[in-house]
Structures are given as structure tokens and as C-alpha cells.
């Protein structure tokens, strides 16, 4: 019983991280109809930047803010410089370009910071909280992770639903040509979308780094599982991203816990295949008919 509770708590924590990462993926998909395969690598770079600051005696919170800010900049620059030229045209091109960016960023990180594992500070205690007679697999740090992620989600909802900027961004995503006819600078909105996704990814990076340890590839798994979550929930649905993230986190936690960690990746594959076979467009997407 204790094991089940621990696995569940573990699943929720990781699930929220996958969820917020999936949100970043959905954000970019809705804006530009592209899956940003470099999303994880961007988060890795910003986390390394924060780690470097911390190693030079900087305050943890300052490092986090710098990570978020650099996530904003990197995300925006990548859209403007690398992705903008291929946004229209064959679907293969953005895939290749973002994959190329992924490979280049990971290699660059390896060259600059070396391939070895590094630790990243957690700031809060990572020791499990004691409830009654049991020590749960849930610490102050995990509480902080959940609070941070939920806050970001709430902020995003507020931004998109209640601000003029959010309205412009939604319009640019739903109907770019019409938005242009209403004076919206659609190009800027798209860049901003990628920049925001960069911030969200950066947050996921600093939150998961203390658990996974930093290395050039450490965000690969988060990307895969976050992407799985987004696809399961439906690439067009932010709600789907959150639900998909939690579902993925829980499922992987149980698979890893009861069947062994080597099967974790296969577990994700199985989930993905099942959902894609039963409901290819994702659980929360409304089916629209294709125009011929």
C-alpha cells in the first residue's frame, strides 16, 4: 500500500513536469503548427546557464530568473531565425530544422560544459515528508514543484483569456490571415509564442534537474514523455496536455515501479500506440472534417 502511494505521488510530481512541458509543445503547435523537437534541448541549455551561475556563488532565485529570461530569448531567436523561413512549405522541413537544432545544442553543451553529470540545487529539502508513521515519497521540494507549475499554468490561462495580448496570440494561432486583416502583427505573436514556450520549458528544466542530474541529454526523456502527453491529450488542447501529462506520469511511475525501469520507455510507447490507434487526434481534440 505504501508502495502504491509512493508511486502515485512520484507519478503526480513527474506528471506535472511532463504536463507543463506538454503545454509548451501545445503552445507552439497551436501557434505555428510545428512540433519543436528542440524544446528539451533549449531547456537543457537554460538549466546549464543557471547551474553555471550557482557554481559561481549566485543566489538560487537569481539563477532561476536568469534561466527563465534566457529561455525567453532563446525561444524567440530560434523561431525568428531558424524556423520562420520554413514555417510555410513542406512539413518535413521544420521537423529537420528543429531536430538539427536539438543535435547542435546538445553537442554544443557537451563541448562547453563537458558530458559528465552535474548536480543542480533544489533549494528546498528533498527528504520525504513524514505523515503519521510513514515517510512519503513527497518532499518540500515536490510541493514547490507543484506550486510553481500550477502558478505558471494559471498565469498562462490568465494571459490568454483576459489580456489583449493573449487575444492577439489566440487570433494569430486560430486564423492568421484574418488576424492580419485586423491589424495584428502576426509574426511578432508567433515569435512571442515560441518565446513563452521557451520560458515554460526553462522552468521545467530547473524543476526537474535536481532529480535527474544535469547532462547534455537530461531533457531528452522529459521531451519524449512530454510530447507523448501532448499527443495523447491532443496537440490542439492545453487541457489535454495537462491531463495527458498526469496520466503519462502516473502510468510510467507504475510501470517503472512494478515492472522494472527498463520497461518505462516501452510503457510510454504502448500508451502512445493505444491512444493513437483508438483516437488518432488525441483524447481532447474535437474532430473536424477535412476540406477537399
Amino acid at each position: 500500500m505504501q508502495r502504491f502511494v509512493d508511486l502515485t505521488l512520484n507519478g503526480v510530481t513527474y506528471g506535472m513536469i511532463y504536463a507543463v512541458f506538454a503545454l509548451a509543445i501545445v503552445l507552439i503547435w497551436r501557434a505555428t503548427r510545428i512540433v519543436n523537437f528542440a524544446q528539451g534541448a533549449q531547456a537543457m541549455v537554460t538549466t546549464y546557464i543557471a547551474a553555471t551561475l550557482v557554481e559561481h556563488q549566485a543566489n538560487y532565485w537569481l539563477a532561476v530568473v536568469v534561466a527563465l529570461a534566457s529561455g525567453l530569448v532563446i525561444g524567440g531567436v530560434i523561431e525568428r531565425v531558424i524556423v520562420r523561413p520554413v514555417e510555410k512549405g513542406p512539413v518535413l522541413n521544420p521537423v529537420i530544422v528543429t531536430l538539427g537544432t536539438l543535435v547542435a545544442l546538445e553537442a554544443l553543451a557537451g563541448i562547453i560544459w563537458g558530458g559528465g553529470l552535474r548536480s543542480f540545487p533544489a533549494y528546498f529539502s528533498q527528504i520525504g515528508v513524514v505523515v503519521g508513521k510513514h515517510r512519503l515519497a513527497f518532499s518540500h521540494f515536490d510541493i514547490y514543484v507543484l506550486v510553481a507549475i500550477v502558478s505558471v499554468m494559471v498565469l498562462l490561462v490568465l494571459l490568454f483569456r483576459f489580456t489583449p495580448l493573449g487575444l492577439r496570440m489566440r487570433a494569430s494561432a486560430f486564423a492568421p490571415e484574418v488576424a492580419r486583416l485586423l491589424g495584428v502583427r502576426v509574426g511578432r505573436m508567433l515569435t512571442l509564442g515560441w518565446a513563452l514556450a521557451g520560458v515554460v520549458g526553462a522552468l521545467a528544466g530547473v524543476l526537474v534537474a535536481p532529480k535527474l542530474l544535469l547532462s547534455p541529454n537530461f531533457m531528452d526523456a522529459v521531451f519524449i514523455y512530454g510530447f507523448t502527453a501532448a499527443v495523447i491529450g491532443g496537440l490542439d488542447s492545453p487541457l489535454g496536455a495537462v491531463v495527458g501529462g498526469l496520466a503519462t506520469g502516473l502510468a510510467l511511475s507504475y510501470v517503472g515501479g512494478y515492472l522494472g525501469s527498463t520497461l518505462e520507455a516501452l510503457g510510454a510507447l504502448a500508451m502512445l500506440m493505444v491512444v493513437l490507434m483508438l483516437r488518432p487526434q488525441g483524447v481532447f481534440t474535437r474532430v473536424t472534417s477535412r476540406e477537399v
Partner: protein, 235 residues
Amino acid sequence: MAAVEVADLTVHYGPVAALRGVSFVAEEGTTTAVLGANGAGKTTLLRSMTGLVRPDRGSVRFGGDELTRLRVEDVVRRGVAHVPEGRGVIEELTVEENLRLGGLWRRRSERDGFDAVFELFPVLRGRRHQHAATLSGGERQALAIGRALMSRPKVLLLDEPSLGLAPIVTGQLMARLASLSRDEGITVVLVEQNARTALSIASRAVVLNLGRVVVADRAEAVAADTQLRHHYLGF
């Protein structure tokens, strides 16, 4: 200085010429009807005026300013509003959000804007918080035009506003368009298949055929020319 001056506008889609050397002028505060059969180039004309399509040759001036190579959003920010074919109502947003979007770049006081639109199209007031997907054809047309008006445009381009609307609704719509031109001094360029109704509210008419201007004259003159009407306008 005319509100709209189009000179020698030429547009090709690959090897096909959609517009060949189209020129016309629309004076401030007037309504100009752009008429012709399907495929005559009417929609292409409007789209190249706002910049959705790049012309190969020619120029478009609004209020004396050459706007031909500007980006669409920059043309719009000079005071041109374009209600596209199919209305372009954003279904995922509510009626109010669609309207607000229209006036955003103007940063105009929203309440004034909404009041004016609801006065012109009372049917929208009741549907304010509904998603635009739930609106009927006539309501969408009202929303699209109201949204365009939120930015207080000097020039209003409309592409087939009567499409899919019942005759009664079309009549009401046209009456409101006429009042816009008359009372607010907006220059209206109206592309219409329904030539008869368009001619009834326009002061000038431009007839296109296969991308060329066949006739550009006073609306009454065009309406009176029965041979022309039969040949190019279907009535």
C-alpha cells in the same frame, strides 16, 4: 485627393493572369460597387489592395499614400478595413472577443466601439458572450462588418457580403452599408455578385471581366445600360 486610387494593378497566379492593368478611383465618402461574373478577378482585386496578394505591377494608394508593398497589418493600420470573402469570423472566439480584436490596434475606448456596433447591428448585443461558431450567416456578416468598424476605418472593403444571405437580410444589410457611407463618411468598396442590390446603394460602379476593367462609370449609368447588364452582370 481621392480616398482610393488603384492604378494598373496586375496579378498573376503562376501563368494565369487574374488581374490585367486594373485602374479605378473611389472618392472619399462614396460607395463603389465592383461587379462581374465569377472568376472576373473581384476577390483578387480586393486581396491585392490590402496586400494579401502581391501584385506584379501597379500601385494602390489610400489617401495619397502608396501602400502597395506594405505588409497586410501595416496597410490595415493606415485605416483600411477588409471584410474578406467568407467573412473570416474567428469561430473559437466569442462575439465580444471578435469585436474587441477589431479595435485593438486603435486602442479606442471599447465601450464606445461596442455601443456603436450594437446600435448598428442590434442582433449582436444578445449574442455578445457566445462563441462565433454559433452564429447564423446573417449574424456572422454583421459581426464581420461590426468588427471592421471597431477600428474606425476610413476605407471599408467588403467581399461579397450578401453571399448566402436571405434577400430580406441582404436588403437590411445594404441599407446599413449605405448609411455608413452617407453618415460616417467612410469610403466603401463593395464587391458583389448580386449586382442589382449593389448598384442600388452605390454611386460608382466598376465592372470587371477576365481581369480587365470593362466599364468604370456612375452607378446609374451602368444600371441603365441594359446590354452591359445582360452581358456581364446577369440581369
